[in-house]
């Protein structure tokens, strides 16, 4: 079974950029049936609010991966909407031109419902790019709390998608936004989800397929923060049809990113 991982950070906190490390990642991925990885960049390296130069360096890291294994890595460009329209559009254009960026990756820079997100929507429209938004439940959790100003609850990601129905949104981190997040975006046809991050909690894959349909679910790992054998195993072990499994693990990404 072919697998495409839409959510990876091969270079994280400055580590993983050496050619031998990338080759090892490529080899390990191939052994698991992974035919391609989408790199989202070293998005935490410069803190929550990277400047224009830092965003460019993060995206150059993606280019580095693609130069070494052009048939294996695709990438989304990391943008900081708080820097304004001019900076956002310039970097998006640079990434599309230089790296053939396939989408936009947004991390914990601002809340997804913030007004500056209009710059992202403009870039997404202009360059025909999907927007992958880091999303995690904010309400009532006992664990590590990230301020709402930078952490997007599924309600915030849904707000962005509702304001810009013409923009394709991928709400990232299935275990992070959970059952409530799936319900939040069910009636927003421009929103899909990825299965990255968190522990492989039972029932979530099945619920996502039941509520959204398998066409709106992408396999993602959040590598190296998660183990790909586990993140793939949770899909292989889910109580869904083989056809839906294939859609999640490869077909949906192939269509979205034009892999064939």
């Amino acid at each position: 079974m072919r697998i495409f991982d839409i959510h990876t950070h091969p270079i994280l906190m400055g580590s993983g950029a050496k050619p031998e490390e990338i080759k090892q990642l490529y080899t390990e991925g191939k052994a698991l049936g992974i035919v391609g990885m989408n790199s989202l960049g070293d998005v935490s390296f410069y803190g929550h609010c990277p400047d224009a130069g830092q965003c460019a360096k993060i995206n150059d890291g993606n280019g580095h991966l693609q130069r070494l294994f052009p048939d294996f890595f695709t990438s989304f460009c990391h943008l900081n909407p708080t820097l304004g329209e001019r900076v956002v559009m310039k970097e998006a254009e640079r990434c599309v031109t230089n790296f053939n960026s396939k989408g936009i990756k947004l991390e914990k820079t601002n809340n997804a419902s913030a007004s500056c997100m209009k710059h992202i929507a403009k870039a997404a429209r202009e360059f025909n790019l999907p927007v992958l938004q880091h999303t995690w439940t904010v309400h009532g959790i006992a664990g590590r709390r990230v301020p709402r100003s930078i952490q997007s609850d599924p309600t915030d990601t849904a707000t962005f998608a509702r304001r810009h129905p013409e923009v394709k949104v991928i709400m990232a981190h299935l275990t992070g936004f959970g059952f409530r997040g799936i319900a939040e975006v069910k009636h927003l046809p421009n929103v899909s989800i990825d299965t990255s991050a968190g522990y492989p909690e039972e029932g979530l894959i099945e619920y996502a397929v039941e509520q959204l349909g398998a066409d709106r679910v992408y396999y993602g790992s959040d590598l190296p923060i998660r183990e790909q054998s586990v993140t793939i195993g949770r899909i292989l072990g889910a109580r869904i049809t083989p056809k839906d499994r294939q859609k999640i693990l490869y077909d949906n990404a192939a269509i979205l990113l034009g892999l064939n």
Binding site: E28, A31, L32, W136, T137, H139, G140, I141, A142, G143, R144, T175, G176, G178, F179, G198, Y199, P200, E201, E202, G203, L204, E206, Y207, L223, P224, I225, R226, E227, Q228, S229, V230, T231, I232, G233, R234, L236, G237, A238, R239
Partner: protein, 251 residues
């Protein structure tokens, strides 16, 4: 075939999990290469006295020898000794599990002294469960944190001749604890990072790691694949997958 050191049977109110009977659960585990499993009653997590759930579990697993019952005990209840006595009477138990955060006590509680003596006298292993789910994703009605790693370290130092199994411990917590104490083993259910086991074996010998899936709360297939597909020597996989559990629980 593997031995799973961390499974549960019963109802979990925060997710639409499959409702397994003991037989169906054993079949599910077998489908994923697990021949035997240590199983505890989920219903005991939310009962003030865990014994009604323990009794039901003993009855449920009796016809299913692949499931080895591990009762949940609350050592801070006035009846803790009665709980252990009754469990010993009901089944040939090999271990008991404690859930300090769910049952609202610290590991420094005064009743741990006689409790630990009783476990030693009866040759019962202690399983200290650190968490049942990730605090960052748990349902808001379950606002709990894992058992603090500092408390576990103090506990292990206070009982140097004990050797509990820690289940549900996070990878960074485990690595930190490994630098402080040697008298424990741990399951791998809540340890995850790229090449998890390669990483863990840099701080712990394979003899102190046990396969635990935390099924059915977590994906059995995903958890088993963490071991099966790990880039570690086959001998280490066998130790983690079954040999250590056989030795630890005298199976």
């Amino acid at each position: 075939m593997h031995i799973d050191s961390n499974t549960y049977l019963g109802h979990w109110p925060f997710a639409p999990l499959p409702s397994y009977t003991a037989g169906k659960f054993a079949s599910h585990l077998t489908d994923h290469g697990i021949q035997q499993a240590l199983v505890s009653p989920l219903n005991a997590v939310f009962l003030p006295d865990p014994m009604p759930a323990n009794r039901k579990m003993f009855t449920a697993v009796k016809p299913t020898p692949a499931l080895i019952p591990v009762p949940i005990i609350n050592p801070t209840l006035g009846t803790w000794q009665d709980q252990i006595d009754e469990c010993l009477h009901l089944a040939p138990i090999r271990a008991v599990k404690i859930l300090p955060n769910y049952h609202n006590y610290r590991l420094t509680h005064r009743q741990f002294e006689p409790f630990m003596e009783t476990l030693a006298t009866n040759k019962l292993k202690l399983i200290l469960n650190v968490r049942l789910n990730d605090e960052r994703t748990q349902y808001f009605a379950l606002n709990l944190k894992g058992v603090p790693q500092t408390d576990i370290a103090k506990f292990l130092k206070h009982y140097p001749t004990s050797h509990p199994l820690l289940t549900g411990i996070f990878r960074p917590e485990l690595k930190q604890l490994a630098s402080q104490c040697e008298n424990f083993s741990a399951d791998i259910s809540f340890c995850e990072w790229r090449n998890t086991l390669v990483d863990l074996l840099t701080v712990l010998p394979p003899q102190r790691l046990l396969l635990g899936t935390c099924s059915p709360l977590l994906s059995t297939r995903g958890q088993v694949d963490k071991l099966n597909l790990a880039g570690i020597p086959k001998k280490s996989k066998t130790l983690i997958g079954s040999t250590n559990a056989k030795r630890f629980f005298h199976l």
